[in-house]
Amino acid sequence: MDSTYFQYLDYAVYGTAVLVMLTGLYAALVKRSLLKIVIGLSIVDSGLNLLIVTLGYLKGGTAPIFSAGYDGTQTMVDPIPQALVLTAIVIGFGVTAVALSLVIRLWRHHHTLYIDEIKNLKW
């Protein structure tokens, strides 16, 4: 098999990340259940995090740590996107926690999770 196929395969991870984001966006915008909306928002976050890590990846790169075994010749992957993703994960976790606590409040108030039945404010 020719190696050009594998070159296209390198881009597959970008496609996957975008696909994951679109799946989450579909869930967040189309589903009528509050829990599914929250799950959708968290899937969008995961897809975006995957995309960011991919941006910093170099083929054959090692972990960006200067340790005893490092001889200065190997390429390293970009550490900044990884640091950013860590922050983004924590923020996404916080938002999901707030969202779920709001869902609990809405459940106690309305005894339903379907946004069609929660219509005191116009959606």
Partner: protein, 495 residues
């Protein structure tokens, strides 16, 4: 210098974490500490602002990594001016809500003031930071405390409003992060000044895509149509002072971010026209929606959105006079809209549905509150001799200088609409007979102080507009001096 810009972020953040701990020992401290913190920050902001108008911008390097590698904070005339407004508004919101609902429990007060501190930290951080990813983090801090404050009352439909806000906010944060990563993948830097100086290297298509993502993401926070679906509900369901904090603090920060991206970072030629178009659409739709509202706070919320539209149009003119007018409108909005929220929420205090018709005949029951509301209403529609008149006049003059006659006509037409719906409320307050038996709620002493201070400021700026125009000119100049911004950040050293 008496302090450095990093204190604006460090002190309220520290206070937010210390409030629950000190509260365990001394319960009253959860109310007192935020006031002390905000008062100190206000003094610091005024000091630093008068320092930078003379000596040029202060660039603070954080953690010993000089730009463009590390995070830096920029306190120049423009960002300093906004920080001063925001901290001042924070102080007034604190004073107003010090004994907000005297039956408020210790538990609730602790959460409220903790979240208020986080809100101030995030908003001030957005304005001061010189790093695009750091700005994202601050936008999230502001957002999360905003969601929680919106859902503060358990009885009303506040959780619903808050969920709506959260949904739009988290989609905004995804788009924002995507835009930041597009810039990073192309230019390999996150520092604003560095991005701005390398922007010409970027592929024009990707540049346009990331700019549009930024506008959508920040537009959600800045209440730009059609992304503002959350705003009327959040304003109506959140406690009164929180509505004022959104109008006076959070929206200002979001508009600042939008302007910083348009003016300093991106050099797209069509960006100013885009600002004018989205501003005009926002203004017209919001004012037309406001006239149809039956709830007082929703009407004020739509009026607030309309004012932000006007600010964007004014920034979109793209001249120094336009920026001056935009900053003047922002300043006036930060003073007048909280006054309307504060006095308005007392006028409909006892009514369940908070309808506009519930203010009928309030002029006799609560004369001082009614007069203050009327003062705010007159000022925001731009009647002379109140503060709003001068900002609208300087906007019209800036538009006339740029030969935008169609815009002038449209703005004046919209102002008539604005006049109609505010005068309708004022008319009801003074000349309608009271239909219900609900009594007026006497505002607390602190609330009176806050409302009277705001009223006096409206009159003060109305009679002596020169007292603020000096600072506004400095701020407008510093926004335009892009090369000085880039130079001062990139040559900053560790003090």
């Amino acid at each position: 210098m008496v302090g450095t810009p990093v204190l604006f972020i460090a002190i309220p953040l520290l206070a937010a974490f210390l409030i629950p701990l000190i509260g365990m020992v001394w319960k009253e401290s959860v109310r007192i500490i935020p006031g002390l913190v905000l008062a100190y920050l206000l003094v610091l902001a005024i000091n630093l602002l008068s320092y930078v108008t003379v000596n040029g911008p202060i660039v603070e390097v954080i953690a010993g990594w000089a730009p463009p590698i590390g995070i830096n904070l920029v306190f120049n005339a423009f960002s300093g001016f906004l920080v001063t407004i925001m901290v001042f508004m924070g102080l007034l919101v604190w004073l107003y809500s010090y004994r907000f609902k005297s039956n408020v429990e210790y538990e609730a007060a602790r959460k409220y003031f903790l979240l208020l501190m986080m809100l101030v930290t995030g908003s001030v951080g957005i304005v001061l930071t010189g790093d695009i990813f750091n700005m994202f983090v601050f936008i999230e801090i502001t957002g999360i405390s905003g969601y929680a404050l919106t859902a503060f009352y358990t009885g009303r439909d506040s959780a619903e409003a808050s969920f709506k806000y959260l949904m739009m906010g988290s989609i905004a944060s995804v788009l924002l992060l995507l835009a930041i990563m597009i810039i990073y993948s192309q230019l390999g830097t996150l520092n604003m000044a560095d991005v701005a100086s390398k922007m010409h290297l970027m592929d024009p298509k990707l540049k346009a895509v990331s700019f549009i993502l930024f506008v959508i993401a920040l537009g959600i926070e800045a209440e730009v149509f059609p992304l503002n679906g959350w705003a009327p509900d959040a304003y109506a369901e959140a406690p009164g002072p929180v509505g004022a904090a959104f109008a006076g603090i959070v929206v200002k920060a979001a508009v600042y971010a939008l302007i910083r991206y348009t003016y300093t970072i991106f050099d797209l030629s069509g960006a100013f026209n885009l600002l004018i178009i989205i501003g005009l659409i926002t203004l017209v739709v919001a004012e037309v929606a406001a006239i149809r509202q039956e709830k007082l706070k929703r009407m004020l919320a739509y009026s607030s959105i309309g004012q932000m539209g006007l600010v964007l149009v004014s920034f979109g003119i793209g001249t120094k006079e336009g920026v001056f007018a935009a900053l003047f409108i922002m300043l006036n909005h930060a003073i007048i809209k909280p006054l309307l929220f504060f006095s308005g929420s007392y006028l409909v205090y006892h009514s369940k549905k908070k309808m506009i018709s519930d203010v009928d005949g309030m002029g006799k029951l609560a004369p001082l509150t009614s007069i203050l509301f009327t003062l705010g209403a007159f000022a925001i529609v731009g009647l002379p001799p109140f503060a709003g008149f001068w900002s609208k006049l300087s906007f019209l003059m800036a538009a006339a200088d740029s030969n935008m006659l169609l815009i002038i006509g449209l703005i004046l037409t919209v102002s008539v609409v604005e006049l109609v719906y505010y005068m309708r409320v004022v008319n009801r307050i003074f000349f309608f007979k009271r239909a219900t038996h609900l009594l007026a709620r006497r505002p607390t002493f602190n609330a009176y102080v806050v409302m009277i201070v705001l009223g006096l400021m409206i009159l003060g700026i109305g009679f002596y507009p020169d007292s603020v125009s000096n600072y506004l000119h400095h701020a407008a100049n510093s926004l335009f001096d892009k090369s000085q911004y880039i130079h001062s950040v990139l040559t900053a050293t560790i003090q």
